[in-house]
């Protein structure tokens, strides 16, 4: 009676199916990866060209193109996921139900084979996911960061050019603008005391919105130093944060009071998050 359990189980058909399915799965992912490679390598010079030609200050043509490419990568990921569920896992589940019991020695061999097959397929899929991450980064890094420093310096120079050229709309007297403004404001004529409304150029107004990013660009090396520290050195983060806000305040001094309040909040959030460890 016990002899029944030791009876050798043979299913060469299943073995062949396993081998065949694995081959197909690997080949399928190879094909997707090749296509991804082809698309992304061809896309990089195109992304650069669109970025450089994009006159929009927000670089929206570049942004939309990049999102489209990520969409295609994601479409390939969906395809792989769907196949993994429908053709790999489903196949394994169905085959499993047809095998002799796992606790019998006859069954164990085949259960093991399926388990290894499953692992091999998953491992191959993990490599596919790593490639996705790699190509995603490649697309994102196709262009250098927008050069905010040059833009900012251009705006300062443009302001120097115009600051003494305005005249009072009421009396015609010359109004020298004391400092660069980034939002519209009232300026009093020194001769007739009339309140003129001064609207800065679009470029100057843009500086206000780019100020934080520019300050971050200027202090990126400090953030990098913090991120590279092991274990994370809170002191380095605080140095970065202080320097970043100092730069921010230098760019838009009018916002310094408000920025300081925000600085306090960020510092507070940081110290709180550390205390959780």
């Amino acid at each position: 009676m016990f002899g029944l359990f030791d009876k050798k189980y043979h299913n060469p058909e299943l073995l062949e199916m396993i081998g065949h399915t694995q081959e197909r799965w690997f080949a399928f992912l190879d094909k997707l990866e090749n296509r991804m490679h082809e698309m992304c390598t061809a896309a990089v010079p195109e992304i650069k060209e669109v970025f450089n030609q994009d006159t929009d200050p927000y670089k929206r043509a570049h942004g939309h193109m990049l999102m489209g490419l990520h969409g295609q990568i994601n479409q390939m990921r969906q395809k792989a996921n769907k196949t993994k569920e429908e053709s790999i896992f489903y196949f394994i589940d169905r085959a499993t139900t047809q095998l002799p019991d796992f606790i019998s020695s006859a069954g164990r061999e085949y259960h093991d084979k399926l388990r290894i097959f499953r692992l091999d397929c998953i491992n191959r899929h993990n490599i596919f996911e790593e490639k996705i991450a790699w190509y995603t980064l490649m697309l994102n890094n196709a262009v250098e960061e927008q050069d905010l420093e040059t833009f900012y310096q251009e705006q300062l120079a443009a302001f120097e050019d115009i600051r003494n050229k305005f005249i009072c709309k009421q009396c015609g007297g010359n109004i020298a603008i004391a400092k660069i403004f980034f939002i519209a404001t009232y300026i009093t004529c020194p001769f007739c005391q009339t309140q003129n409304t001064f609207t800065p150029s679009t470029g100057a107004q843009m500086v206000l919105h780019q100020a934080r990013s520019l300050a971050e660009q200027r202090t990126a090396h400090l953030l990098k130093a913090y991120e590279a520290s092991k274990p994370k050195n809170s002191q380095l983060y605080q140095q970065y944060l202080r320097s970043m806000f100092d730069e921010w305040n230098k760019i838009v001094p009018d916002m310094a009071t408000e920025n300081e309040k925000f600085y306090q909040r960020m510092l507070h959030d940081h110290t709180n998050s550390i205390n959780h460890y």
Partner: protein, 82 residues
């Protein structure tokens, strides 16, 4: 076959690029405008806006330029209430 596949990718890229460049962005193009200086004359009495009586009302006839209570902001302060 290989050529077909490559053509597929290149056609896609070309279309994507054209779409990115030619489509209208929400909110339209950012128009670069020069800095400007203006003055708002009182619509009631025609006088220019004088400094001494604040920003919210006309110093001469009392016309309300703005129907609000100014607080301490960035450049505009409480003292600028008429």
């Amino acid at each position: 076959m290989g050529e077909d596949k490559e053509k597929r990718t290149l056609t896609y890229l070309e279309r994507l690029k054209q779409k990115a460049i030619s489509q209208e962005n929400y909110g339209g193009e950012v128009k670069a405008e020069e800095a400007k200086m203006e003055v708002r004359d009182c619509p009631e009495c025609g006088a220019g806006r004088a400094f001494r009586q604040g920003l919210t009302a006309c110093a001469y006839c009392g016309f309300k330029f703005m129907n609000t209570r100014l607080t301490d902001g960035v450049h505009i302060k409480k003292e600028n209430n008429s």
